[in-house]
Amino acid sequence: MKPLESTNLFANSINKSFSTPGMDSSLEVLEDIWFHIMEGEFVSILGPSGCGKSTFLNILAGFEEPDSGHVACCGETVKAPSPQRAVVFQSPVLFPWLSVKNNVRYGLDLRKEGKKGTEDIASSYIKAVGLDGFEDYYPSQLSGGMQQRAAMARALVLRPKVLLMDEPFASLDAQTRYSMQQLLLRLWEEYRHTVVFITHDVEEALLMSDRICIMSKRPGKIIEELPVPFARPRPLSLTGSREFSMLKNHILERLMT
């Protein structure tokens, strides 16, 4: 299959299994996954626990290699992690020895961009995630939600083509999660990076994404792709609508099979 012009990231026929030392048979985790995403698209991946979502994201990020298949981003084969495909992990994974500002600057400093410019860019992203005033705090002095916002600023400051997010808000309480979802959508509307968003929360996927991919139980396969038909911005009241609950029920049924 020749990908379309505006395809940003694609994975063709990905297979992956893990062999455990001491065991004869290996664990088949991903089976013939075909996935593509357009520039600026927001796609969620839903799937039961243990079906291989994180494994797939790690392959897209370049952290892990598939056993077979091909991953490419912006016309280049993915071989290793790159700031083009920034990752936001489930836990924030900030560098604990660096202040918020220096965490956000980390990638910019590696690029050796002009010192003055770096400072301004970093501040503007810290502001964008609502952490102004906390520049000199260390990660351990921040709440979980604030840490995750700092991690988002650290990824976005590099202007990635693709943002890969692995259940980024799963560990947050309901209110914080809602405000983080709003923040992510705001940033996405502003910067228009492509987003691959892994979640196990069906409502979250329906409220956030353009398209949803449903994965089967392990070995994970994409068993259904459905576009999300709701216009943006999507108010929270949408969750009460008939169409929303019908879609939600449909997805839940597919997840259960």
Partner: protein
């Protein structure tokens, strides 16, 4: 909470006060003779005289500075060599499989021999005094520095490494900006152990015969029967050990701070 701390402080003082009182009582008229245990006041006088040289109570009056400089220099040099070799080797062993497999078994084999067991052969190789002292300090301080640096580097969270790579760090940058900072707590613990051991092996080495140094003073004072000078030297070695540890820890704190500032 506050009250607790206050109580803990009091509790911590009980034993030293008791020991000090016992010491004082023992050395009173009719107690243990002064050539075995000098009285606290005699010790303080000799210590002050050791530093200032005003009263010429012992042949060592006023020589504290010379001896201290000699000892501190040896510790710095020996510890410096141990750190200069132990840190890079430790970091490499912690991260690079080839380095670990080729290096680690040998290092641990050598480590089985207690440091003190190297004394005779060191004296054969380096002669008594200076060379032996430096060799023993470097050798003994190397192991904790190496082991802890390796331990710190090997237990860096794989997620931090993924984060660094994803943000654009190449292998070299990953080492300097992620692995070494993440390994710092364990590494500093190793350096502190190494520094403590350096002082121990300093004394051992100096006892073999050097002209200047606190260990030399101890050995010399023993032969001349100045028991209070032995104790005074012990106290100063303890003080220097503690002080050097504080400087080490303090400078790592400062270094971190400076790093933060210079990046602003």
């Amino acid at each position: 909470m506050k009250e607790r701390n206050w109580n803990a402080d009091i509790v911590g003082f009980i034993l030293p006060v008791l020991l000090f009182s016992a010491w004082y009582l023992m050395t009173m008229e009719g107690g243990v003779p002064a050539y075995l245990i000098p009285s606290p006041s005699a010790l303080v006088n000799v210590a002050i005289d050791f530093a200032t040289g005003h009263e010429k109570l012992t042949p060592y009056a006023g020589t504290l500075l010379v001896h201290s400089i000699a000892s501190v220099q040896r510790v710095l040099l020996g510890f410096g060599v141990a750190a200069a070799i132990g840190l890079p080797l430790g970091f490499m062993t912690g991260r690079i499989a080839l380095a670990r497999e080729s290096l680690d078994p040998t290092v641990h084999l050598i480590r089985i021999i207690p440091g003190i067991g190297w004394l005779p052969i060191a004296m054969v190789w380096f002669g008594v005094g200076e060379g032996t002292t430096l060799f023993l300090i470097s050798l003994a301080a190397f192991f904790p520095i190496y082991v802890n640096a390796a331990q710190g580097a090997s237990s860096v969270s794989p997620l931090l490494i993924r984060a660094g790579r994803m943000l654009g760090a190449n292998k070299m940058k990953l080492f300097t900006t992620v692995i070494i900072p993440a390994a710092m707590p364990s590494t500093v613990a190793g350096l502190r152990l190494g520094l403590g051991i350096s002082w121990a092996y300093l004394v051992l080495g100096e006892l073999t015969g050097v002209t200047y140094g606190l260990g030399a003073v101890m050995m010399d004072a023993r032969m001349l029967g100045h028991v209070e000078m032995i104790l005074v030297s012990m106290v100063f070695i303890g003080l220097f050990g503690r002080l050097s540890d504080m400087i080490l820890v303090g400078s790592f704190r400062r270094l971190d701070l400076l790093k933060e500032e210079s990046e602003q």
